[in-house]
């Protein structure tokens, strides 16, 4: 089969590799009909996530048709159309039973690699480095899905791939980001990052009852998407002082909750940003938390800082004084996608949201290298690339 493989820093190619096979009784093989490039794939692309090996197959947002099931999968049959959640979860461990699926205790066979860095290991993920289990990803013609009796969600035929594909990651991720804000009547929510996850976080904040949502980015076409498709207000941080503007927009209170949908490769300006760039380049630190720092300072006293952007290791100059003295709550995590797929599918069916609004580019799988390049450089308004194997 054909698959997108990681070749090194800012280099991917489409390779011909063996077809996947059932390795465990609870596996299924899915023939992929649509798959997407995620913003977090760019962290791999840019070489900021350790534990990548040349030849690793990328991709963790995918859906398709079940073509083979293992003996232990009772709820799926060949021909079912499914969306696959990006965290791999067994459904049996204490974490899974508490619906904390991205913390599955059994799905990362490389837990030993992660423990020295993070203390304990979270779940294995598709196509997201050997730290996350070394699973082949879904930017391919086929994928092996472990614990297929727990993860994949059957989707009805009257919905298009484009409407349901993002149930695999970015819609639940954005939704969980908003849910962690515990939104109350009258709340103003600020979202850093107008990429696909930021768009869904903003949209979800409205769905959960936010009074106003303010989205911060530097790309005008992304901000326009947030205004036109989500109904958010926007701040371009290259033109406006974000902290000043947020105070102005909230009568000096600051947003009730803030969402970091940017993560470890944030951009910014000024001396501190220059410091972050140097520290990250020289491996003195792994992540540049520019957006996170600003979000913390912006948040109102006693508010919630919801972090859904990906971080990999350690950060520098973390404003703990602001967090402690102003009683902020930090909530974070890889999305527990399984928990949200069904209710969010219901919302799509009811017409409350059509997630396909973020798609700007649809390409053949063969064009994946071009897709990565366009997405990285935000060329011709690129927000979301969907690949068709």
């Amino acid at each position: 089969m054909k698959a997108v493989s990681w070749q090194g820093r800012q280099s991917v190619q489409v390779d011909t590799v063996p077809d996947p096979q059932i390795l465990n009784d609870r596996d299924a093989i899915v023939k992929i009909t649509s798959t997407a490039i995620c913003g977090s794939d760019l962290h791999l692309y840019n070489g900021f996530i350790p534990g990548m090996i040349k030849g690793d197959i990328l991709g963790h947002e995918f859906m398709g048709e079940v073509v083979e099931v293992g003996r232990g999968v009772g709820n799926l049959k060949v021909g079912d159309r499914v969306v696959v959640p990006f965290p791999i979860a067994c459904g049996n461990c204490t974490a899974c039973q508490a619906e904390a699926y991205s913390l599955c205790e059994n799905s990362n066979p490389n837990a030993w690699m992660v423990e020295p860095i993070w203390g304990h290991s979270p779940a294995g993920l598709f196509g997201y480095s050997h730290l996350a289990g070394g699973y082949a990803g879904g930017q391919a013609e086929f994928a092996r899905v472990p614990f297929a009796d727990v993860g994949p969600l059957k989707v009805p035929d009257h919905l298009t791939d484009e409407q349901v594909l993002f149930l695999s990651d970015i819609f639940p991720t954005g939704y969980m980001g908003a849910e962690m804000c515990n939104i109350q009547r009258g709340d103003v929510i600020a979202v850093w990052g107008a990429g696909p996850v930021g768009q869904f976080a903003a949209k979800s904040a409205f769905m959960l009852g936010a009074e106003r949502v303010i989205v911060i980015d530097r790309f005008e076409d992304r901000l326009r998407m947030a205004r036109e498709k989500v109904g958010a207000e926007t701040i371009n941080y290259e033109q406006t002082s974000v902290l000043e503007a947020l105070k102005e927009l909230t009568g000096g209170r600051g947003p009730d909750s803030v969402i970091d949908a940017v993560g470890m490769e944030a951009h910014g300006h000024g001396a501190l940003y220059a410091y972050d760039k140097v520290a990250q380049t020289t491996k003195m630190t792994t992540d540049r938390p520019v957006a996170l720092r600003e979000a913390i300072l912006a948040c109102k006293n006693g508010g919630t800082v919801s972090v859904i952007g990906v971080y990999s290791g350690v950060i520098d100059k973390f404003p703990m004084g602001a967090v402690m003295n102003r009683s902020l709550t930090i909530k974070t995590g890889q999305a527990h996608v399984h928990r949200y797929m069904r209710p969010l599918l219901d919302r799509i069916e009811r017409g409350e949201i059509n997630p396909s609004f973020v798609i700007t580019h649809t390409m053949r799988l063969d064009d994946a290298p071009l897709g990565y390049d366009k997405f990285l450089h935000k060329e011709d308004g690129c927000v979301k690339v969907v690949l068709k194997p």
Binding site: I22, P50, G51, N106, W112, G134, G137, F147
Partner: protein, 335 residues
């Protein structure tokens, strides 16, 4: 690669009496004590000389018969600092072989300085040569001390050692179920990747076959020495085992319906001592890591039904990661 180094809890320890006979009481090797004493004397000498050089470099220069100009005094001060550092180094370490070698290096430096020094006047030539001879003598003493200490250290790390490994995991299953699974020793190879087979050969007796480094296998007989249902199983290898070993596994209720805590403690004689353990670590075969992985596999078997196979990992040798691609072989499948 530092980020991938696994810090585990395995450490060198004394076995408790019921597991393995305690190793012979450490008889302090008289030669080793002498070696240590010599290094202490040399350490004191180092510091004394260093302090003198720093305090009165001009007088030292005159004493050894060299011109006491500014440059020489600076050189003497630097030599003084070096002496103090290596002296402190010798005192701070129980096995100061590395620091003893710094003294040898320093001596060589001093000899070359002395041979290049300019005598101040005719009479100084004799003082200069006397100083050089003294340094030469000290060099020989330092060399002797360093060689002896290094030899002691080498002997020490290559001694057979009793290695102790302790690991634990929580399994989301009832204590009775976890105990019963472990109690059937023939199940052990399902989750212990280095065991090939265990056959029960009689009441409390079993024969074990395990993979060893370099493609070898080792076999031994073991007996259960204590068996408290739903609480504890203890076993040990019998006479004639190539690698004498013993183990305890305890099953405890995890609080608040969290299942069963499995606590494993293993003792075994590492044939090549610390060196063997270090080498094993380099090849990803260190027992602490193995047991941690094995316990994860136990949890997978009991909670999910089988050991989970990843695409990009090679079973059995954790450092041999392959690209995260589908496997070519047909041999996959549940272990």
């Amino acid at each position: 690669m530092t980020a991938f180094d696994v810090r585990d809890q395995s450490r060198i320890g004394q076995p408790t009496d019921h597991l393995l006979p305690p190793p012979d009481e450490m008889t302090l090797d008289q030669a080793a004590v002498t070696d240590r004493r010599l290094s202490v004397v040399l350490g004191v000498l180092s510091i004394a000389l260093g302090v003198t050089n720093l305090a009165v470099p001009r007088e030292v220069a005159r004493f050894i018969g060299v011109c006491a100009d500014g440059q020489t005094q600076t050189a003497l001060r630097i030599v003084g600092i070096r002496e103090i550092v290596s002296g402190i180094g010798i005192f701070r370490q129980p096995k100061p072989s590395g620091w003893a070698w710094t003294r040898v290096a320093g001596d060589v430096m001093d000899l070359s300085l002395l041979s290049n020094a300019t005598p101040r006047r005719r009479g100084d030539w004799a003082r200069n040569r006397a100083a050089a001879l003294t340094v030469l003598g000290i060099t020989l003493l330092d060399l002797y001390s360093a060689v002896r200490l290094s030899r002691d250290t080498l002997q020490d790390v290559a001694q057979p050692q009793t290695i102790r490994v302790k690991k634990s995991i929580t399994v989301n299953r009832a204590v009775g179920e976890v105990y019963a699974y472990w109690h059937n020793f023939e199940n052990l190879p399902t989750f212990m990747s280095h065991l090939e087979a265990v056959h029960v050969t009689g009441i409390n007796r079993s024969r074990w076959k395990a993979k060893a480094p370099a493609g070898r296998t080792v076999e031994w007989d073991a007996e259960i020495t204590q068996d408290v249902p739903n609480e504890r199983i203890m076993w040990r290898s019998l006479e004639g085992a190539e690698i004498p070993n013993s183990g305890t596994v305890e099953f405890r209720f995890a609080p608040g319906d969290r299942g069963t805590e499995v606590h494993v403690e293993l003792y075994y004689q590492s044939p090549a001592g610390k060196i063997g353990v270090t080498l094993a670590k380099m090849f990803g075969e260190e027992p602490g890591m193995q047991i941690a992985d094995d316990l994860r596999a136990l949890k997978q078997v009991l909670e999910t039904g089988s050991v989970l196979v990843a695409d990009g990992a090679e079973l059995g040798n954790r450092l041999a990661q392959r690209p995260a691609q589908p496997r070519k072989d047909e041999a996959g499948g549940d272990r």
